[in-house]
């Protein structure tokens, strides 16, 4: 069972309280009508599936019901950091080398 720090409740909580919500930092194109079908499909359907560091959204479903971000290692399940919506990660794959 994962122990996850909710940046809004400001404490560690049991995994049972959370739900994963997919890849983080996906921005909706500001002018969707100017995109090609391929660009639009990429935005809608294409997701990263890295081996190693990944930035994901999770939601504290049974707690504050807020979405936030997690940097997680997909191999070891280790959670490197959690951070509020709108913020950028401190730990990235490029920084890790």
């Amino acid at each position: 069972m994962l122990h996850i720090y909710c940046p809004y409740c400001e404490e560690m909580r049991e995994e049972e309280e959370f739900n994963p919500a997919g890849q983080a930092h996906i921005e909706r194109p500001l002018q969707p009508e100017e995109l090609s079908d391929e660009q639009w499909a990429r935005y809608l359907f294409f997701r990263k599936n890295p081996r190693g560091l990944h930035h994901e959204m999770w939601v504290h479903a049974h707690g504050c019901r807020k979405y936030f971000n997690i940097t997680r290692n997909t191999v070891t399940y280790q959670i490197m950091e959690t951070y509020k919506m709108g913020l950028q990660p401190n730990i990235t794959a490029s920084k890790e080398g």
């Binding site: 409740c9 404490e11 049991e14 049972e16 309280e17 049974h62 707690g63 019901r65």
Partner: protein, 198 residues
């Protein structure tokens, strides 16, 4: 209020009033704080006008620290999220309080009467910690769960907001649709301690 309207708590069918006093020796003491007014308030905790407005109406400062609560003579407030609170007021006063909040607050806020969506139960007794340990993964030690703290977590896998009222007394906010399940769970899991209804 019209006498034609009959309000029923989600645990009405359990006929708790007829169970009161049947067992005196239970290690678990159960009480439904039925039919209180529940108001959900959304707003910006960084907006001073919002905070003063709420304080003016409820006679107590809005708890803005994560997982905290506050109480005045007329209202109990629970922090739900950085921009969301639950306000519990006496049965029948929820419309008045809602109107006052609407009249006082300006700008971007929301207040919704959700009295029918959930109910309050209180658990106490000498075995209440044992029962809580079976029911929630949250650390019940007083260092992690002091009196007055409110946590949104799971209770027997159902969502609940748990407020610690004293060392051995907890108040749970549970959803209407889960209340029968939670009531059954409490009856079953308190079998080894005995259950008293008050």
């Amino acid at each position: 209020m019209s006498n034609l309207i009959q309000v029923e708590s989600p645990l009405h069918h359990a006929q708790l009033d007829q169970l009161i006093g049947q067992s005196q020796s239970g290690g678990i003491i159960f009480h439904e704080a039925a039919l209180f007014g529940h108001l959900n308030l959304r707003g910006n905790a960084d907006d001073d006008a919002f905070l003063t407005g709420v304080q003016e109406v409820l006679d107590v400062a809005l708890p803005t620290t994560a997982c905290s609560s506050a109480k005045s003579e007329s209202a109990q407030i629970m922090w739900l999220a950085p921009d969301e609170w639950l306000i519990v007021v006496a049965s029948g006063s929820e419309y008045d309080v809602e109107e006052k909040l609407r009249a006082t607050l300006k700008g971007h806020f929301a207040v919704s009467d959700i009295s029918g969506a959930q109910t309050l139960i209180e658990l106490s007794g000498m075995n209440v910690i044992d029962l809580m340990k079976k029911s929630t993964g949250y650390d019940l030690h007083l260092d992690s769960f002091p009196i007055g703290k409110v946590v949104g977590t799971t209770f027997a896998k159902a969502g609940a907001h748990i407020l610690r009222l004293s060392e051995d007394k907890f108040q749970l906010v549970i959803r209407r649709s889960f209340s029968d399940y939670v009531w059954l769970w409490i009856q079953q899991s308190s079998k080894e301690y005995g259950l008293s209804i008050v």
